[in-house]
């Protein structure tokens, strides 16, 4: 079942088509990556999903029904990229306040916050003020307040910025756990290695348009260039065959690009016939980073202002 369906969403600002006819679906339990260069329209898209902006046209369908910002925000947890907390407020009170705004009762909020604080070893923070926290600490607090009300849809915009690897892993594990428990997670970033590690479904937007949509596996398959890595100690000059091209030659390793129609076994056969010992042989799939750069490159990096 799709928890979220975006249908031909459009949002134009005075000088930009921030989101220009984007549609995609997100299935329940997915960890979904929304990718794109700076200024691609990711934040605008997320703001429409969270009900902060109304789309100029198109529709957001949440949980099978037309999205109703007033009631449905209780089922959404949004951690925006521009995030912060009331500096002068005590941490415990702040968490309770934000949870109450999401519709939790005070008692409910207290028990849940205490459980999370124990999990993240934050119990001693309760009476501290936000201004006393380090950036990483307030980031953890922000994450707790985002997921506290057990939202069906959790939207995290650059959740790991400012976190050290240990704390980043802590949050990452929690994200996986939340997904296992049935929450859907939208993850917006331009850090591709994180996406590769966490997401199973991605959409790439650029200049307000969707340019890629699929599972991480599928996308990699779609963009593979028949590259193989073969582990064997050989001199480069010796290797030549119409079926493939040597892209790179390291002492113990060759990077080959197979020409269209060539089967992997043909390559192996060639090496065997030359009596070269093959230690390893594996397909090289492009990283999301490479795909990203390939797709976004060539378009102007800075988005231009346009008349509409």
């Amino acid at each position: 079942m799709n928890i979220l369906e975006l249908q031909n969403l459009k949002k134009y600002f005075a000088t930009q088509k921030a989101v220009d006819d984007i549609s995609f679906n997100i299935a329940q339990g997915d960890i979904f990556g929304l990718l794109g260069p700076n200024g691609a329209g990711k934040t605008t898209l997320l703001r429409m999903i969270t009900g902060i902006f109304y789309p100029d046209s198109g529709e957001v369908v949440f949980n099978g029904r037309k999205f109703d910002p007033i009631n449905d925000t209780a089922y959404i947890g949004y951690m925006p990229e521009e995030r912060g907390l009331y500096k002068k407020m005590k941490i415990g009170e702040q968490a309770v306040y934000l949870a109450q705004l999401k519709g939790l009762s005070k008692a409910e909020a207290m028990t849940k916050i205490k459980a999370w604080f124990v999990k993240f070893e934050m119990e001693s923070w309760w009476n501290k003020k936000v201004e006393d926290l380090s950036k990483g600490m307030s980031q953890k607090l922000q994450f707790v307040t985002t997921v506290l009300h057990e939202p069906k849809l959790i939207i995290l915009d650059e959740p790991f910025s400012g976190l050290d690897p240990v704390n980043a892993n802590l949050i990452k594990d929690e994200i996986f756990k939340l997904a296992q428990n049935g929450s859907t997670i939208i993850f917006s970033t331009h850090r591709m290695e994180q996406v590769e590690e966490i997401c199973n479904h991605i959409v790439l937007v650029n200049k307000g348009k969707k340019i890629l949509d699929g599972t991480v596996k599928q996308v990699k398959q779609d963009f593979k260039e028949n590259m193989y890595r073969i582990g064997a100690s050989i001199a480069a000059e010796d290797i030549q065959h119409p079926a493939f091209e040597v892209i790179k030659h390291n002492p113990e390793e060759l990077l080959l690009k197979l020409s269209a129609g060539t089967k992997t076994n043909d390559v192996l056969q060639y090496f065997i016939s030359k009596n070269i010992t093959v230690n390893t042989f594996s397909e090289v799939l492009p990283s999301l980073n490479e795909i990203f750069i390939k797709l976004v490159e060539g378009t102007k990096t800075a988005r231009q202002f346009q008349e509409i």
Binding site: E82, R83, L85, Y86, Y97, L98, K102
Partner: protein, 431 residues
């Protein structure tokens, strides 16, 4: 609705618990009372203690004329005193005739004498000379004094309203000006508080977190109402503290004044008939209690709330479009502050004629009505004018809140640049 309530509660509690709030609420009335008491005390105490002045009256002209009364200067006609020994003889000063000019005296003192001392010596000498001249032409001083006293307070004028109560123009002036100025100050203080609150939300980057849970309009309204409640709390506490302190102050008044006040209150006609028998302070207190206080306080609260709602949403809109730079806020605040200041100017320049055109229009148009109407309230303006002013203020704040909400909604999520007036207009009239 429940969410607005949560926001109001947070805004209210965080501010009321703040030390500055507690200090300003409880210290300000005390400081004011101390200030008044202190200035009275100082004005009484400012004259130095009695001074003994040696007078060298060689011509024996002044000795029969200058009489020592209750004043601070005591003349002692000591023929043996001179400029060298007067301090040894225990005098504070020595007065002698200047040889070069017979109308000129010199006061010798160890340290420079105060202006009060010299002028009072001068007055005493001149008075003595005047009495001398009068008696020479056959007019006794006591006769002249009684004549002067009788003619200065023989006729008196009081102003009565149709309800036969005495109207005290001076008091009306003071109450109107006082409450107008109080509204003027509170509007700035609490309006700026709303603006700073909005700016804080924006610079702390919590605005977007908040608007993913509540509508921007709810956030804005919650803040305005919360801070308005803080302002109202503070004003009410001030009113209570002030009345407690003034009751305490009346306990220190002489009892005969209080009994006179009671007489006037029991029989208002007395106030004009037996003017001479009643002291000015008793009349003043009677007049203060003659004013329609429930009406004045009720209107004050209404105009405070109305004016606050009218302007605070505009302040919130300004707070939402500026960034970290406080100077940006200042330049945008100016157009909002202008009408408030203008209202104050109307009030202060027309307070003597509370029913003229400027005051009338100023008290109807919601931009200035909270300040100007409060200036007129103690002179009981016609009921229809009051009603019109209130209705237009309510309509006014509904309009400004609606408009500010539109600007706020967009402004609160904009980072990086200040919005221009043109852009804000566009946001206002966008759906």
């Amino acid at each position: 609705m429940n969410k607005i309530w949560l926001i109001i509660k947070r805004e209210y509690i965080t501010r009321v618990r703040n030390k500055t709030f507690l200090l300003s609420t409880f210290l300000l009335p005390i400081v004011i009372v101390l200030f008044i008491a202190g200035s009275i005390f100082l004005s009484v105490k400012s004259e130095e203690s009695r001074k003994r002045i040696a007078f060298s009256d060689t011509s024996e002209f002044f000795k029969p004329l200058v009489k020592n009364d209750s004043s601070k200067i005591v003349f002692v006609f000591d023929a043996g005193a001179d400029t060298l020994n007067y301090t040894k003889k225990g005098f504070d000063g020595f007065v002698y005739q200047d040889d070069s000019a017979s109308h000129h005296f010199i006061l010798r003192t160890p340290k420079a004498a105060s202006m009060g001392t010299t002028s009072s010596i001068e007055n005493r000498l001149n008075e003595a000379y005047q009495n001398y001249q009068l008696e020479r032409s056959g007019i006794s001083k006591t006769y002249l004094d009684s004549l002067k006293k009788a003619s200065s307070s023989y006729f008196s004028v009081d102003n009565k309203g149709d309800d036969a109560k005495i109207v005290n123009a001076g008091l009306n002036y003071a109450v109107g000006f006082g409450s107008g100025i109080l509204i003027y100050i509170t509007m700035f203080v609490f309006g700026a508080m709303v603006m700073r609150g909005v700016m804080e939300e924006k610079t702390n980057r919590i605005a977007e977190v908040m608007v993913s849970s509540v509508k921007p309009f709810q956030l804005m309204l919650g803040k305005i109402l919360g801070i308005g409640a803080v302002g109202l709390t503070q004003l009410l506490l001030w009113i209570i503290l002030m009345s407690v302190l003034s009751v305490a102050a009346t306990a220190f008044l002489p009892s005969d004044i209080m009994s006179q006040v009671q007489q006037i209150q029991n029989n208002p006609a007395m106030a004009s008939n037996n003017t001479a028998q009643l002291s000015e302070s008793a009349k003043m207190i009677a007049n203060v209690s003659n004013l329609n206080w429930p009406m004045i306080i009720g209107c004050f609260i209404f105009y405070f709330v109305g004016g606050f709602l009218f302007y605070s949403s505009l302040f919130a809109a300004v707070g939402s479009v500026v960034n970290e730079d406080p100077q940006e806020a200042q330049s945008l605040m100016l157009p909002i502050m202008m009408p408030i200041i203008f209202g104050f100017i109307i009030l202060s320049s027309n307070l003597n004629s509370p029913d003229n055109d400027a005051m009338f229009w100023g008290s109807i148009i919601p931009f200035t009505s909270p300040i100007v109407m409060m200036g007129r309230i103690s002179t009981s303006p016609p009921f229809w004018q009051l009603a019109l002013s209130m209705v237009s203020l309510i309509g006014g704040f509904l309009f400004t809140t609606w408009m500010a909400g539109k600007i706020y909604r967009t402004g609160i999520l904009m980072y990086g640049k200040k919005a221009s007036w043109k852009e804000m207009m566009k946001w206002t009239f966008r759906k």
